[in-house]
């Protein structure tokens, strides 16, 4: 159906397209009128919302939304940290682009130049969000710093592209080092630990660390679930099915209220650490199921061939099975990351000041209390979540297409 419509659009005049797609039968005409009305209504409602909404609550509290109660005099650390992250991503992306380019040149294929238009098409929601956030800011400082950050990222990208092939692995190492120092900048030498972080910053950090810690756990349980040893298989299945059978909130409640009973006396980690433990245990089970899917996709012949070559069980898993399985699993892992990103909103229930809790507490501020401004702050927070999830899910579909998962 869809293919026919696109072909008529290309061939025929616009009028024909309208007739084919909107008024082909009386039923279709009816639908068109109903849904046209709906769109019109929604559009008018949206315009009215923007005309009447009081954005002052967001303007006043923008910093709170971004970083929670992170000490304001230490904000430079957040900027430095973010710049390091952007630079690390830029360097890694540049290096992989460089190696892709080198591969194309070697094969004698044409190398496409960098296409700013493609970047805009791929990342327009993020660019839009940055514009919205900067336009809500009261001073020009964030805009300037964002530009500096962008330039840093582009510079790192350029560095990565022109890097000689021998230095490429080295650049990934540097990128990891940058990520670690991005973390260190916030914490060491008078910085603040993550119990004082908050807002969007904490949301992103918790989801990224959650998936990072959950990954080894997931691989362990996935391999365990496919083990030929019944006891290990049972342990893994029990863990996975138990965690997948309960909602995240029960694990968070456990982390907040019951974890201190399970640890030795005197050991009492901060609240963010505790929810991070809960989130890691939770995501670990889901990652395990994703990885299991990838392991199942590796043809049995691969393992048999490795064994025939005299490789041991461990070497076979590490060198033959896992690299193929994990490659196929990347899209599913991105999907898991997206749902974790959305699930971090539950931290607001257990009293952690992440993005969604900020929208709750700003509505309790004396100057904004009881004015029904939840109808402004909640959509604002929703926009941030939407931009993150939507962009990542589109990128994941792109990776899926490139890896050819599901087409083999």
């Amino acid at each position: 159906m869809a293919s026919r419509t696109t072909s008529t659009r290309r061939r025929g005049p616009a009028l024909l397209w309208v007739q084919e797609n909107l008024f082909s039968t009386w039923l279709n005409t009816l639908f068109t009128l109903i849904f046209g009305g709906l769109f019109l209504f929604a559009g008018v409602a949206l315009v009215r919302f923007f005309l009447h909404a009081q954005f002052q609550i967001i303007v006043t509290n923008l910093t709170l939304f971004m970083v929670g109660r992170f000490p304001r005099e230490l904000l430079w650390r957040v900027w430095v940290s973010n710049s390091l992250i952007v630079a690390a991503i830029g360097l890694a992306a540049g290096a992989s682009r460089g190696s892709a380019k080198a591969g194309l040149e070697e094969a004698g294929l044409p190398v496409g130049g960098s296409r700013p238009r493609e970047v805009v098409q791929r990342f327009w929601p993020i660019l839009l969000l940055i514009l919205v956030l900067l336009s809500l800011s009261r001073t020009w400082v964030p805009t300037g710093l964002t530009i500096v950050m962008g330039v840093t990222g582009l510079g790192a990208f350029a560095c990565g592209v022109v890097l000689p092939a021998s230095r490429r692995n080295w650049s990934f190492f540097v990128a990891v080092l940058m990520l670690v120092s991005a973390f260190a900048v916030l914490v060491v030498l008078g910085g603040k630990g993550w119990d004082s972080w908050g807002g969007l910053h904490l949301t992103v950090v918790v989801s990224a660390l959650g998936i990072l810690f959950a990954f080894p756990l997931g691989v362990l349980f996935a391999v365990g679930r496919r083990s030929s040893l019944p006891a290990i298989r049972f342990l893994s299945v029990w863990y996975i099915e138990f965690v997948r059978g309960v909602p995240l909130i029960t694990l968070l409640l456990m982390g907040m209220f019951a974890l201190r009973f399970l640890l030795p006396r005197g050991l009492n980690p901060g609240s963010v650490t505790r929810v991070l433990i809960a989130i890691t245990l939770f995501s670990g089970a889901y990652v395990a199921e994703n990885v299991r899917g990838g392991l199942q996709a590796v043809p049995k012949g691969q393992m048999e061939a490795a064994l025939a070559l005299g490789m041991g069980t461990w070497t076979t898993q590490r060198r033959i099975v896992l690299p193929q399985a994990l490659r196929a699993v990347i899209p599913a892992l991105v999907g898991q990351f997206i749902s974790l990103f959305k699930d971090t909103s539950l931290l607001s229930i257990v009293g952690i000041l992440e993005l969604l809790s900020v929208s709750k507490i700003v509505n309790a501020q004396p100057s904004f209390f009881g004015q029904g401004l939840a109808s402004v702050t909640l959509p604002f927070v929703g926009l941030i979540y939407w931009v993150g999830s939507y962009t990542m899910s589109r990128e994941s579909r792109r990776i899926e297409g490139r890896l050819g998962v599901g087409e083999r």
Partner: protein, 379 residues
């Protein structure tokens, strides 16, 4: 050497793994017992019989009733969401999913906007928007609106007309049940007749006509066994009809809409996953559009859709725990409140997890049975 034998190593590895797991759990348990004792909290479940000290708004539950009953009430409230929510989200999701494949451009776009918006925001946010931004700004119960004269709309409770049983309702339901069995019999008879003679069966027409005929006939013979009751506000409570608290409506509608966006994707994916050759073969056999969908595409899509669909029902069930954010007294909220009242968190959370595990394992057992029965017979 015996200790390099694979058989021995396998046993050793398993024993070590199990021992390590039990040692870890035992360590946690010992910490738990020590810590609970140190704080003077029992390690048993005797507290379940003590008064809950929780007031559940709008349920008539009293704080003096035991913890046990408040948990049961929470389970009941969770089920109230699941039983109504699952059919609603299925219908909405399937309709939206099919709409995404519509030949009408506008319908397709509307469905995409619905799916892409809802799928990419947290369900908790949807619930909060429904509650804080849509339902709370409604008039208070004292100034409740009565749209069309039959509904009650306020920011505390919402009421719709409902049927209340009167004398003879039991008899009427019995008659309906018998009629349903007979209608099934008619269905079978018409099908057999069609199989043996080839005459058109019209089984839908025959059995539904019978059912409707009996239903209407018995209604008047018994003498209006059911009566329509309209909701109204009396003493700041909605009486008559069917009333629902705003928190219930918020969780139900928000979660159903959110989950429906996932169901829509499953529906669309399943229909697209039916091999194209099947449609082409159906066209080659000159089946009509309806026949093609009814007998060729949908039965196959249905099989593909069942496991992920039930997974979504499970997700919905687990997500009802978000009712805690808007004060709907489902099982997570009452557990949370009981913990706040000083009941031991480890035991309470264990019970809570047990409740959800029962739900989940029941549903996954269902999936497995269905999967086995619905799977294509292959070589």
């Amino acid at each position: 050497m015996w200790w390099r034998d694979v058989g021995t190593l396998r046993i050793v590895a398993q024993v070590v793994a199990v021992a390590a797991a039990f040692a870890f759990l035992g360590y946690l348990y010992r910490n738990l017992v020590t810590n609970l004792r140190a704080q003077g909290i029992g390690t048993g479940f005797e507290f379940l019989a003590r008064p809950a000290g929780v007031n559940v708004a709008g349920s008539g539950f009293e704080a003096s009733q035991p913890v046990r009953s408040v948990i049961l009430l929470g389970v009941k409230n969770t089920l109230a969401l699941v039983i109504v929510g699952v059919p609603v989200l299925t219908v909405v999701g399937v309709v939206v999913g099919i709409a995404r494949l519509s030949s009408n451009w506008l319908v397709r776009k509307a469905a995409s906007v619905y799916v892409e918006t809802l799928r990419n925001i947290p369900p908790l946010l949807v619930i909060l928007i429904a509650f804080n931004a849509v339902l709370l700004p409604l008039p208070t119960i004292d100034n409740a609106l009565h749209p069309l004269g039959v509904l009650v709309v306020s920011n505390r409770e919402l009421g719709v007309p409902w049927l209340v049983p009167r004398e003879g309702s039991g008899l009427y339901l019995l008659v309906l049940t018998v009629a349903l069995v007979l209608a099934a019999g008619i269905w079978v008879w018409r099908t057999r007749r069609f199989d043996s003679t080839g005459a058109p069966h019209h089984r839908v027409l025959w059995s539904s006509a019978f059912l409707v005929g009996v239903g209407i006939g018995a209604y008047f013979l018994i003498g209006t066994p059911f009566q329509v009751s309209l909701p109204e506000v009396r003493d700041r409570i909605v009486v008559g009809g069917m009333a629902a608290r705003a928190s219930y409506v918020a969780v139900l509608v928000a979660l159903a809409m959110y989950t429906a966006s996932h169901v829509a994707e499953i529906t669309r994916g399943s229909i697209l996953a039916v091999p194209k050759g099947q449609t082409e073969a159906a066209n080659a056999l000159a089946l009509t559009r309806f026949q093609r969908l009814r007998f060729v595409v949908l039965p196959q899509a249905f099989r593909i859709a069942i496991p992920p669909m039930i997974n979504q029902f499970l997700n919905f069930t687990k997500n009802t725990s978000l009712g805690i954010a808007v004060g709907y007294a489902e099982v997570t909220l009452v557990t949370f409140q009981a913990i706040g009242n000083g009941y031991p968190a480890p035991q309470m959370i264990l019970i809570l997890m047990g409740v959800y595990l029962v739900f989940s394992l029941t549903i996954s057992a269902l999936v497995n049975i269905l999967n086995r029965r619905l799977q294509f017979v292959t070589r």
